[in-house]
Amino acid sequence: MAPPVTPTPRRRGRRGRALTYLGALPFFLYVGVFLLLPIGVLAVEAFRSTDQVTFVESWSTDSIVAITQGAYRRAYLGSLQLSLITAVLGAVLGLALAVAVLQTRRNLLLRRLVLTASGVLANFGGIPLAFAFIATIGNQGVITALLQNELGLGRGGFSLYSMTGLALVYLYFLIPLMVLTITPALEALRPQWREAADNLGASGWQYWRYVGGPVLAPPVIGATMLLFASAFAAYATARALVGSSLPLVTLQIANALSSNVTVGSDSLGKALALGMVVLIGVVMAFYAWVQRRTQRWLS
């Protein structure tokens, strides 16, 4: 990071320096208005509530209390459970896929196909994926029909419109996300380490146990966090697949916002959203800590 031998020429002194900082201003203004302000407003307005009769607004923790109980509590637990399971599964399978693809050294085409497909599925996914799965294993799906009519098998109690079905669809964008996130870390594993281990007589298992594993652990944990956050935030897929029939926070938020019937459901939506931000904040603090460790390991 040390600058090259010639120091940067200082042409304009203090005024130039102020001008330079001014150049970064648009970015900070933009982020302030369109990212920090909405979240800040969320944090304040979740504590406002409108009286059912008089429509007078006042400070209260009603909404915050409400979201820790009953259906909302179940929604948080449902979302957390689904995200945790799909994140861990996605991380394991994605890691396996990334390693398998990177090791096919000669087949650069396969590598590029998998990486670009991962880019599409991980970032673009959402709605198209949900419909692809409906066409495949939905009630009218091609594979459903194949299993039932041609092979005479039932579906074994499986339904696409359940938590299990949702998990199956989530993995379809979480595994690619893992591949994208972990590939740089896998590429950073120096071949010399493997050679050194080999020359010292280590077995493949010993290499992964004492060298590859410890180096890869922090990025893998970090990537799993990212998968968790992504699954936790997913709304489009769930909305397209199950409407609002499953206990998931994102679906509950949309419900709360779209219902004009009950006064104060708006405030409930804000409280639910704030709850998501707080939970993700906790996860992200852990992620930041992991990142720091990663840097120490790989530098």
Partner: protein, 294 residues
């Protein structure tokens, strides 16, 4: 023996450009199983969707009718052109915002790097639905507090159903992590400091340096960033749905009830087209990237 061959090859090259671990070790059977099973998992839904859309329910056989129907179907043209416009505007704004910022941070303000990095990466983990609930709250200030002020008019102007600018501004935030990472990788790969100093010493002005030196060097990164942003906007559902605007994805969901095969046809087609475009860009990327060694 393979180990020996690899050590020799490794010793010959100065820098390991594509570090790949020894692959010929062991049987490689697990690799085959992983590729096969996951390959099936990823191919089957797409293949089944294609079958779903081309089979003719009435007479049996194959028909491309549902694909032919897409352009003329109710609401498609409006929703799709709106999404294209939103995507184009988002790309322009996010690049205008981020290219100068990334370059400036790299060259003159390395002290701000951590702050910029943290802020740009936040939308990666922040649930978009939480962000949009916040945006919705801010937008509701207009009728609640500032009615009949210029500010309220500005708020309403942002929410025109034909071209909702508010979506553009939120999408820029959602695109920040991807754009920042793409540009940052480009800036790190090229030695911008030396290049810009050389240009400055030869008498180029800063705007000239940006246009004639920085942009050409970052061409692939900019292209990557633009493409990811474009795809992101075309596929974005949550924000548009919560704010109640009709874009391409919300249109697919709306018609899915009455035209199941059409909605699947559009979905498959959009996935395929995005993938092909990304493949094309990665091919361009590789042609340029061979010398720079990622």
């Amino acid at each position: 023996m393979t180990t020996l061959a690899e050590s020799v090859a490794g010793a010959g090259s100065v820098a390991p450009e594509t570090p790949v671990r020894a692959g010929r070790r062991g049987t490689g059977a697990w690799r085959f199983v992983v590729l096969l099973l996951l390959g099936l998992y990823f191919v089957i839904p797409i293949a089944a969707s294609v079958v779903f859309t081309v089979r003719d329910r009435g007479r049996g056989g194959v028909t491309l009718q549902h694909y032919a129907e897409i352009p003329g179907s109710e609401g498609f043209a409006a929703a799709f052109t709106r999404s294209l416009a939103l995507a184009g505007l988002t790309v322009v704004i996010v690049l205008l915002l981020m290219i100068p910022t990334v370059v400036l941070v790299d060259l003159r303000l390395p002290r701000l790097r951590t702050a910029v990095e943290l802020l740009t990466l936040t939308p990666l983990v922040l649930p978009p639905i939480a962000l949009v609930v916040g945006v919705r709250s801010v937008l509701s200030w207009a009728p609640d507090y500032f009615l009949n002020t210029p500010l309220a008019d500005a708020f309403f102007a942002l929410q025109k159903p034909e071209l909702p600018w508010i979506l553009v501004f939120v999408y820029v935030v959602l695109a920040l992590p991807f754009v920042y990472r793409a540009l940052d990788a480009g800036v790190r790969g090229a030695d911008l400091r030396t290049l810009t100093e050389a240009a400055r010493n030869l008498g180029a002005s800063w705007p000239r340096v940006l246009v004639s030196v920085v942009l050409p060097v970052l061409r692939t990164s900019v292209l990557n960033a633009a493409f990811i942003t474009f795809a992101l906007v075309l596929g974005e559902f949550t924000v548009a749905a919560i704010l109640g605007f009709e874009t391409f994805p919300t249109w697919i969901v709306r018609i899915s009830g009455s035209a199941a095969q059409l909605s699947v046809a559009v979905s498959v087609l959009s996935l395929m087209v995005t993938w092909l475009l990304l493949l094309l860009i990665s091919a361009l990327d590789r042609r340029r990237g061979t010398k720079e060694s990622s």
